[in-house]
């Protein structure tokens, strides 16, 4: 029974494909899966925009959208219709072909990343041996699209935004990738499915999520921060910093193309959160074995939702960093810490992954964090100040 619910989507697809002739089965499976992914995450994108607006509004003591549909939850449909019917303006001096291709070039690699993410037990489109590598390869090509958008608009703000975006994405790619190395080392595989399976409860009752290790905890946050930066989310939303360079690389986009950028940003955010779930939060596995009756895909989306809430919460709180500080943070704090975690993983693996590992590795990671943090902040002498008052 539980099994049937858990595997409902897999069986549906298999049953449908059974009716098709043999040669086109893999292709049809790919197309149907892609369609399902786009549909699910498209809907999720719409709902997330509404939830984000409502949550941030509540954080700011406002009401947020509440007019369209029940509690305003259909607002995204109205927004979608609006952006579809808006005039598509292309600046006269823009490079029209590149300007047209850029949003698509941004969306396609983002969608490709979904191919290797396991959304549930047996629910992965391509179970590649080099799944993680595939993910990073697809993610690496988004920079190009951002460049195309910024350059082709022929707007100084766009160009500045594109330059910022590329510099930022390149810099954060390193900690993004390096923070996952520990997981790969411990699991011994680049396949996302293997990684998730390795984190399951196995024979015991408690799951072995990577986040519940000293290095995994640190790597999880490094990964998450890098994911914030990769997705251009506050506090790393410099490429589109509206108070400085107005809207950055998609300044000259309007109508549906703008919506595509918006969608690509959110899909990118989902996919990097999903990867974080896969690598550190045990993917579709339940935290404890007796909760295993809950469908695996539900676990996955639950964890995804928690991470999305974190994204929204941080966005509602923090101001934006400056470019050089952003770079400093990537190169002087995150990269050294990510590199430092690699030997720690080796140590963790050698001393037996138990409480000994915790006693040994925990303080080392904490010390590295404190020391690097102090080095980053201390050089700029950033501190709270006390003030004097005029006498008399």
């Amino acid at each position: 029974m539980f099994q049937a619910i858990d595997q409902i989507f897999v069986n549906l697809l298999r049953g449908f494909l059974g009716h098709l002739p043999e040669p086109i089965r893999p292709w049809a499976g790919l197309v149907i899966s892609l369609g399902a992914i786009l549909g699910t995450f498209g809907l999720l994108f719409g709902l997330t925009t509404v939830c984000e607006r409502k949550a941030i509004a509540r954080m700011q003591n406002r009401l947020g959208p509440n007019r369209v549909g029940p509690y305003g939850f259909l607002q995204f449909i109205a927004d979608g219709i609006k952006s579809l019917t808006k005039e598509d303006i292309v600046p006269r001096s823009a490079d029209k072909v590149v300007h047209f291709i850029a949003p698509l070039a941004l969306l396609v690699p983002v969608v490709l990343t979904y191919l290797v993410l396991p959304f549930g037990r047996n629910m992965v489109v391509l179970d590649l041996d080099a799944g993680l590598l595939f993910y990073f390869a697809a993610g690496a090509s988004t920079e190009l699209a951002v460049f195309m958008a910024g350059w082709s608009s022929r707007n100084k703000y766009s160009l500045l935004g594109a330059m910022r975006a590329i510099a930022q994405m390149l810099s954060y790619e390193l900690p993004f990738i390096l923070s996952t190395i520990g997981v790969v080392m411990v699991t011994g595989s680049l396949s996302t499915v293997r990684i998730v399976e390795a984190q399951g409860p196995g024979d015991g009752w408690l799951a072995h999520w990577n986040v519940f290790t000293p290095w995994g905890f640190a790597a999880f946050f490094l990964f998450l921060i890098a994911a914030f930066a990769e997705a251009n989310r506050s506090p790393f939303d410099l490429p589109e910093g509206e108070s400085e360079i107005v809207a950055g690389y998609f300044l000259e986009y309007s109508g549906f193309k703008f919506a595509l950028f918006f969608m690509a940003e959110y899909l990118g955010m989902f996919s990097s959160s999903a990867l974080a779930v896969t690598l550190f939060l045990g993917g579709w596995t339940a935290p404890v074995s007796f909760l295993g009756f809950v469908p695996s895909w539900l676990w996955f989306f639950l964890k995804l939702g928690v991470l999305m809430a974190l994204f929204i919460w941080v966005r509602g709180t923090t101001p934006r960093l400056r470019m050089d500080q952003l770079m400093d943070f990537a190169w002087k704090f995150m990269l050294p810490l990510a590199l430092f975690l690699i030997p720690v993983v080796v140590l963790w693996d050698r001393v037996g992954r138990g409480w000994v590992g915790w006693v040994l590795c925990g303080p080392i990671v904490a010390a590295a964090y404190v020391w690097l943090g102090r080095a980053l902040v201390g050089r700029r002498r950033i501190q709270l100040r006390t003030y004097r008052y005029a006498s008399g």
């Binding site: 041996d129 590598l133 595939f134 390869a137 460049f147 390149l170 790619e173 680049l190």
Partner: protein
Amino acid sequence: MSPMIYFLSGVTLASAVAAMTLRNPVHCALALVVTFTGLAGIYLGLGAQFLGLAQVVVYVGAVAILLLFVLLVTRSGEAGDGDRERDRVAERSWWGWLIALLVGAVLAVGAWSAGQLPQRAAPPELPGVRDIGEALMTDFAMPLQVVGLLLTAAMIGGAIIALREDRMRVAAEREGRR
């Protein structure tokens, strides 16, 4: 699989031609990106997962971006300057033809001789990522370390050069201000 290979080869070749002939350097670079991607697709189609994905990560994700950066940073003007430049290059185009001819000849000879060689049996299974990783960590551990060290040294050297220039400029600016 083979129609896919032909399609990808066609795209790769066409974009390679475009990369050479387009007038706008940024367009050339973007066409080059398509070439890289097509190449990666061919690798993947041939079952070389690691190579294909590494091609995308390295060439599309890094080299192409580097090219574009270089183009933007060094190029001074728009088309006006470029035309004169192109004329100057066109005068010496025979060099290019010569090199192209040589490369083509070598490739032709290679292809012809490959047909002459006795067919070796294909390996029972294509090496996967795991095999590559194991090979790198066991048999080729030393070369990997040396290459890593070399690249690190190069990176540090590059950083130092950039840093020095920057410092010199700051110092010059300070002088100027005084």
